[in-house]
């Protein structure tokens, strides 16, 4: 692969989170019975006319502003003509040479390196219906079933400049794009449900800047598929070039089972789509004041939040990364810290146990979570007990104070009692004690664990540590280490 320059551009389709379709009042709901959310407009029946959904325009503007685009106050809808069963009118209403927004920019991290990629354009269009292919994939299917519930859902199409140089970079870009769109609140961006989809185009240049044909890859349903398909395709094109062949301009599909790209069709050129102005929709003329109003409601975006967490709270890159990638965790973190708690302590709990339990389902209010952290930091209960309490808070919605009182959770900090437990543990493991005395320091953790187990997690861990070290030091004195 050395000596070749890879250039990748992405074309992303995002379903906007409106209640209704872009040109009619049919509901937008994932998983409804097939063809139950259709009307004459979205089925393309004769005589029906489209009327633009204001919320679709608003979401598209929000997305464009979050991606630092310039909004065109004047844009036009056009018809893109092609025959495909998922397109009931045999044309798609989209935007062509006068799109809603242009010239955006997205910044993101690839590892530790801050990258930026130009967004060429963002435009509005209608979604096609959903084709369900018989058999296991599109390849080798016998027939296709079509559901038009999806036809007419508003889409923002986002096109990047073809300037990304590796599959990993394309993935990092797409991950950040999804996060920004989620923060902007314009889409749920679920790749598994198809509300965020990505096509990629890739060229492999034997020499930088040398003109070569573009290959487009479709059917990339996950971040992993995007990265793998691009890696496979880059290698395939290099093989073609090294055999002295030419890469053909074509559309390929990612075959998840075979983990390779397969030729679908020769790439259609723009003239083949015979774009022309949509006569049923007047041009879209926007009021600059409305755009500013939308801009003023945009929340803090991920990269800004990340910087603020590091500066204001002194959090690690790891902690900020976890928090920023999960907005609901960031919310709990901020609400809990706002009441004057130690940010690092809070971040540890939020990114650790809280994040783990939240992934399994449910939430715990910042108020209750804060009460729990206060009990742990004041030493009223141990961290181990705190974990149990948090589990119960997620499972049954209990209040931490009531639960602790009910269970009689208290910390054991009685030296005599703990000393007795420690003697029992040490007497029970004479060989391990000997190994520790011979220098295996890491066994200390095992003894601490045994004491915690014997006290059902109620022992004060710092005290246990101290008492154990003391007790074992006596042992070392009895059996001095061989020189």
């Amino acid at each position: 692969m050395t000596g070749y320059e890879i250039r990748i551009g992405l074309e992303i389709h995002v379903e906007l989170a409106t209640n209704t379709k872009i040109f009619c009042g049919c509901a937008v709901e994932f998983g409804a019975p097939p063809n139950s959310q259709c009307c004459p407009v979205c089925l393309g029946l004769p005589g029906s006319l489209p009327v633009l959904n204001r919320a679709a325009v608003e979401y598209a503007i929000r997305a464009a502003l979050a991606l630092n685009c310039t909004i065109n106050l004047y844009s036009e809808f056009v018809r893109k003509n092609y025959f495909y069963p998922d397109l009931p009118k045999a044309f798609q209403i989209t935007q062509d040479d006068k799109p809603l927004a242009v010239n955006g920019l997205l910044r993101y991290y690839l590892g530790d390196e801050l990258m930026e990629t130009q967004i060429t354009r963002l435009h509005l269009e209608e979604e096609a219906g959903k084709s369900i292919h018989s058999g296991e994939s599109i390849i080798g299917s016998e027939y296709t079933s079509v559901d038009y519930n999806r036809a007419g859902i508003p889409l923002a199409e986002i096109v990047t400049a073809p300037t990304m140089n590796s599959p990993a970079q394309a993935r990092a870009f797409l991950e950040q794009l999804r996060l920004v769109l989620q923060y902007a609140g314009v889409s749920d961006c679920k790749m598994e449900n198809g509300s965020l989809r990505c096509d990629a185009n890739i060229t492999v240049h034997p020499e930088p800047g040398m003109r070569v044909e573009k290959v487009e890859i479709k059917n990339l349903n996950s971040f992993r598929a995007l990265e793998r398909a691009l890696a496979y395709e880059a290698e395939r094109q290099v093989r073609v070039l090294e055999r002295g062949g030419t890469v053909m301009p074509e559309t390929r599909t990612w075959d998840e089972r075979a983990q390779k790209t397969v030729r679908m069709r020769v790439k259609a050129g723009a003239p083949d789509y015979r774009y022309f102005p949509e006569p049923d929709l007047p041009p879209l003329e926007l009021d600059a004041a409305w755009i500013e109003e939308i801009r003023s409601t945009l929340p803090e975006l991920p990269l800004e939040k990340e910087a603020r967490y590091q500066e204001a709270y002194g959090l690690s890159t790891y902690d900020t990364g976890v928090l920023v990638r999960a907005p609901q965790l960031a919310q709990v973190f901020e609400a809990t810290v706002a009441q004057g708690r130690d940010p690092k302590f809070v971040a540890n709990w939020v990114t650790g146990d809280y994040a783990h339990l939240a992934r399994l389902g449910g939430t715990v209010s910042a108020e209750h979570f804060g009460q729990l952290l206060d009990m742990i930091s004041s030493g009223a209960i141990s961290a181990a007990q705190g974990k149990t309490v948090l589990q119960e808070m997620f499972a049954r919605g209990v209040s931490p104070r009531e639960f602790v009182a009910e269970m009689g959770f208290t910390v054991i900090a009685d030296r005599d009692f703990l000393g007795k437990v420690i003697r029992e543990v040490l007497t029970g493991h004479p060989e391990l004690v000997e190994r520790y005395c011979n220098g295996e320091d890491r066994l200390l953790g095992f003894f601490v664990g045994q004491v915690m187990k014997a006290t059902n997690g109620r022992a004060e861990p710092r005290l246990v540590n101290k008492l154990l070290v003391e007790a074992l030091a006596e042992g070392r004195n009895w059996q001095p280490r061989a020189e």
Binding site: G25, N53, T144, V146
Partner: protein, 97 residues
């Protein structure tokens, strides 16, 4: 002028199978359209603004309020082949040549 090859390409995009007689017929027809269009070149349009739409209407937008859809059986009524609530069509994948 529209060539024979362009007619064949257009027929391909429109998924129409044309025989030689039809190709010649449509080629002549399409060229007559172009000739009619060419008449417009005689009109002086120097002072006329470029426009894509007739009239001066601007975008009218509707609020994002759900309206009732067609019942499923009505939506499917025109389908020549309907299976499990879906329109069924022949496979769409082109043969990989």
């Amino acid at each position: 002028m529209i060539s024979r090859a362009e007619v064949v390409r257009m027929a391909e995009l429109a998924m129409l199978e044309l025989n030689e007689v039809e190709i010649a017929l449509y080629q002549a027809d399409l060229n007559r359209f172009l000739q009619s269009g060419a008449e417009l070149r005689k009109v002086n349009t120097q002072e006329v603004r470029l426009s894509s739409h007739v009239g001066r209407a601007s975008s009218r937008m509707r609020e994002d309020v759900i309206q009732r859809s067609l019942p499923q059986e009505k939506a499917l009524r025109n389908g020549p082949c309907v299976v499990d609530g879906c329109f069924r069509v022949p496979r769409v994948m082109e043969d990989v040549r």
